[in-house]
């Protein structure tokens, strides 16, 4: 029952966010009508980061405990990571077109998300090339951790080689959020709503994976 209330609440919450983004929040200076992409683009990018982080944690758990279920969780997180990074890339690239003038110009943020995509597509390429489940799980966990430690380096280097047009991250060096009150309300609402929605999606897929591994066990 509690879960049902939570779902209905989530539905109303995100509907309110969508309506708020269009009708309630003011338009930002210099961005005009495109401001609204903000409420969808940033949460997508945020969920991408969460998903890849979760997959790295599940990879460590797998190597530690050797339980195949963690490998399945890591795969689910990675699939969501790729899905949301694609969504973030698409929304971002539309936004870039209208505000900078090009869909893609190798801005640092564009470069780093592109490399993230490369890494995780390589992850799935590796998985498809190994037959044994245990071996596949261990090797892909190792690869994903190996890739994970190189990501910070890319994040430092790339802004040096290419200059960025991307607005400063919201929590910037002065640790101040510079945003109009009503925009901030809708923005935070969107961030919280999409995160809750992601957790729900993840739980569902987690259950699917659990069920599948149960059925597989029965067959043997």
């Amino acid at each position: 029952m509690l879960k049902l209330i939570f779902k209905i609440f989530l539905f109303l919450w995100l509907s309110a966010v969508i309506i708020g983004a269009f009708l309630y929040a003011p338009l930002a200076k210099g961005l005009g009508e495109y401001t609204r992409v903000l409420y969808f683009h940033v949460p997508m990018a945020w969920i991408t980061v969460v998903a890849f982080l979760m997959s790295a944690i599940f990879s460590i758990f797998y190597l530690w405990q050797k339980n195949l279920i963690f490998d399945h969780y890591a795969v689910v997180s990675n699939q969501f990571g790729i899905l949301f990074s694609l969504l973030a890339t698409i929304t971002g690239s539309i936004w870039a077109k209208v505000s900078w003038g090009a869909f893609w110009n190798w801005d640092p943020r564009e470069t780093s998300i592109f490399i993230l995509l490369l890494i995780y597509l390589a992850y799935f390429a590796l998985r498809s090339a190994i037959e044994l489940p245990d071996r596949r799980a261990a090797l892909s966990a190792v690869y994903s951790l190996l890739a994970f430690v190189t990501v910070p380096f890319l994040i430092f280097i790339i802004p040096r080689v290419y200059s960025s047009l991307h607005p400063d991250p919201l929590i910037n060096t002065e640790a101040k959020i510079q945003m109009d009150g009503r925009m901030l309300l809708v923005f935070m609402g969107a961030l919280a709503g999409f995160s809750a929605f992601y957790l729900w999606m993840f739980t569902i897929n987690k259950n699917i994976v659990q069920l599948r591994s149960q059925f597989e066990e029965k067959e043997f």
Binding site: L14, S15, I19, F22, I204, I208, L211, F215
Partner: protein, 44 residues
Amino acid sequence: MEPLYLVLVINLIVWIGIFSYQFYLGQEIKKLKEQSKLTDNRGQ
């Protein structure tokens, strides 16, 4: 209708679609889980 409202309505429809799909998926999984529990119990 103004384009703004048109886009808003499309957005809402898409959102309702995604939500209903998730909801449906969640219910199905719940059913399957209960079923698998039942078969487990019968097996014991």
